[in-house]
């Protein structure tokens, strides 16, 4: 098929539809609004549901409600809206309800820079909601990859019953690229596992190590209780230490399960690299050029780009730390992913942060300069 010129934000919708999206609730915010605009045209034609809610909290709440009723549901927002959604994201984690959040990052803090790129929400994904909760995030670097990783995000969310984030930035959201959409028509799509037992035997939050309990959609004969309170296996709030402990550990254990199954990264000239640039999203695109330029100067540079950014690829970095002389982390923030890199390599190699917070993209020369210095 002929490539079609589409925007990263539109690619989110193309990917979501391929993943089986049936429900979207959202509230407009730059630079994510084109997602809501595009999906409002697409979904009704497919018989799916689109609703523009009154705010971001309502949007996040509505997709969780829809998911419990059996829909594959998502919302899209940007930094300030993502901040507002955090409590509800924690709810989805605690109540174990699949849902996908797209965050097209813009400059912050606060209302910051609505139309300019940033990677300042990296930590907010993992730590924005209170308490220990499971969450996964993928970070595409092109319109085409956005289509693919949207499907991955839905698959993770449905398979592990947890919120999943698609972390874009203004550049990836707004970039227009030719994409052959037919390449993504036959991606593996995970369907929600349903209980096989009789309703009276169903235990909605069963704690079995390494297992995810199937989710019974509301209205299909399984009458049970869901709460954001710390709960027992039946879904009722508890203050028993052993049940509290089992609840939280079961939630957090999903992070390892996701990591084992869905860890994914892109490597460029990494086979013999002794200098590694670790970057994601728009910064990784620039870094790739910088690595090419560095090679021309005879520096054995390589690019490692995580596609699944949460759970963080710490094992991969730990291994890398033992045989490369430096890892450079260029980010459009004051240093977020770099902290995770430092933690993973635990002092085994030099880690350098390269921050840019002036609303501009990196220039390949800036990254090249940092590589040359190393």
């Amino acid at each position: 098929m002929k490539p079609k010129l589409i925007q990263g934000n539109e690619a989110c919708v193309e990917g979501a539809v391929r993943a089986g999206l049936t429900f979207f609730a959202g509230y407009p915010i730059t630079p994510s609004s084109e997602i809501a605009e595009y999906v409002s045209g697409v979904l009704p034609r497919l018989g799916g549901k689109f609703i523009q809610m009154e705010d971001e909290i309502a949007s996040a709440s509505a997709i969780i409600g829809a998911s419990i009723a059996g829909a594959k549901a998502m919302t899209a927002t940007s930094g300030p809206g993502f901040s507002l959604m955090q409590e509800t994201i924690g709810y989805a984690g605690m109540a174990e309800i699949p849902c996908v959040f797209i965050d097209v990052q813009r400059g912050g803090p606060s209302t910051g820079l609505p139309t300019l790129p940033s990677q300042g929400d990296f930590m907010q994904v993992m730590w924005g909601s209170h308490g220990d909760h499971p969450i996964a995030a993928v970070a595409p670097w092109s319109a085409a990859e956005t289509v693919e990783l949207m499907v991955t995000a839905f698959n993770i969310s449905e398979e592990f019953r947890m919120p999943t984030v698609v972390l874009l930035d203004e550049v990836i959201g707004h970039v227009r690229e030719g994409v052959d959409l037919s390449l993504f028509d036959n991606l593996h799509v995970v369907e929600r596992m349903k209980p096989k037992e009789k309703p009276e035997d169903y235990i909605p939050f069963r704690r079995r190590p390494g297992e995810i309990t199937p989710l019974a959609n509301f209205g299909e004969g399984y009458r049970y209780h869901i709460t954001g309170l710390t709960h027992d296996e039946r879904g009722f709030s508890t203050l028993k230490p052993n049940e509290i402990d089992a609840n939280i550990r079961a939630l957090v254990s999903k992070m390892d399960m996701v990591s084992k199954k869905y860890a994914s990264s892109y490597s460029f000239l990494m086979d013999d690299a002794d200098f590694v640039v670790f970057a994601y999203g728009c910064s990784a695109r620039v870094a790739k050029r910088a690595v090419t330029l560095a090679r021309q100067k005879g520096i054995k540079a390589g690019l490692l780009r995580p596609r699944l950014v949460w759970p963080f690829p710490e094992h991969e970095l730990r291994n890398l730390g033992s045989h490369v002389r430096e890892i450079l982390v260029p980010e459009l923030n004051m240093g977020q992913a770099v902290r995770e890199v430092e933690r993973a390599v635990a002092g085994k190699t030099k880690v350098t942060r390269l921050s840019k917070v002036d609303g501009e993209l990196f220039d390949p020369e800036e990254i090249l300069e940092a590589i040359t210095k190393g």
Binding site: A25, P44, G47, A62, G65, A69, K72, T88, G219
Partner: protein, 285 residues
């Protein structure tokens, strides 16, 4: 009209195992609302697999724990937003949202007015005890001016919302109010709200003796119910009252009703116009 024995009907809808005693204090009105709701469901003969009860946070919002329906106990103030997702995704479900006054009208005020504006087919039951009970008696948006609370030590200076006026002004197509003292009439009003297609609001004027009552010199739970008895006036009689009496009493019954297009129906029409299939792209049912 013959009435079914109260206890038998109610217990048939409660969860069979170990969820009692409830979290509610002795003399609290929430249990009365629960009973009225269950009798309403029973009188309408709704399949209990097709009812979802959604709540937010607070004393009232613990109700789904006890009910043998699908229950969703959500975050503070957001019950209506969660419920909107459920109803819109699976319109064949009867979705009832049970909230307190703080939950529905303070933190959830925005969702309340917009759900009413959309006229989505939800039944919102607001148990109005004029205070934040679970957190310790702070004043709420319905606390009467001059009343005391744990954050209104010198008397509340804010004018309260009239929940029914708010619902009507926002677009609700069924608006009713009754005191828990009149439990049987409350039951009828709730049944009316569930039957009505569109956004229905039933305000259950309730009582919190444990905090509100004590801050405001009620001598007992019974005292608070007596106050309800003396101040609740059916709408037809209330309209004939002189202005000063209108201000000190409150109207009950179906205060407002109208027919208007319902949100999910309108969306289905949109899908049909586009040649799509109604009922969700991959609806399970």
């Amino acid at each position: 009209m013959p009435v079914a024995p109260v206890t038998k009907v109610v217990t048939g809808y409660l969860r069979p195992h170990k969820r009692f005693p409830s979290v509610w204090c002795a003399g609290c009105g929430v249990g009365i609302v629960m009973g009225a709701f269950l009798r309403a469901v029973n009188s309408l003969g709704i399949d209990r697999n097709k009812i979802v009860v959604v709540s937010g946070i607070g004393c009232t919002s613990r109700m789904p724990v006890y009910l043998d329906f699908c229950g969703l106990h959500t975050t503070h103030g957001r019950a209506i937003a969660f419920a909107t997702g459920i109803k819109f995704a699976k319109p064949e479900l009867t979705v009832v949202v049970i909230m307190g006054d703080g939950d529905a009208i303070a933190i959830g005020g925005n969702h309340f007015i917009h759900a009413a504006r959309r006229n989505i087919d939800l039944t919102a039951i607001v148990v109005n005890n004029e205070t934040y009970g679970m957190t310790g008696g702070q004043y709420s948006p319905t606390t009467p001016q001059g009343s005391s609370g744990s954050t209104a030590r010198h008397g509340n200076i804010e004018p309260p919302f009239d929940i029914c006026d708010l619902a009507r002004a926002s677009g609700a197509t069924y608006v009713a109010r009754e005191a828990v003292y009149n439990a049987r009439r409350l039951e009828t009003l709730i049944a009316g709200g569930i039957k009505k297609r569109g956004f229905s609001l039933i305000e259950a004027v309730s009582n919190c003796y444990t905090v509100y009552g004590r801050y405001n010199d009620f001598k007992s739970q019974i005292d608070m119910l007596r106050w309800q008895k003396e101040h609740a006036v059916p709408i037809q009689s209330w309209q004939k009252l002189p202005p000063e009496e209108k201000n000190s009493k409150f109207s009950t019954g179906v205060l407002f009703q109208k027919d208007a297009p319902e949100y999910v129906d309108e969306y289905d029409k949109l899908i049909e116009r586009l040649g799509g299939k109604t009922g969700g792209a991959k609806s399970e049912s």
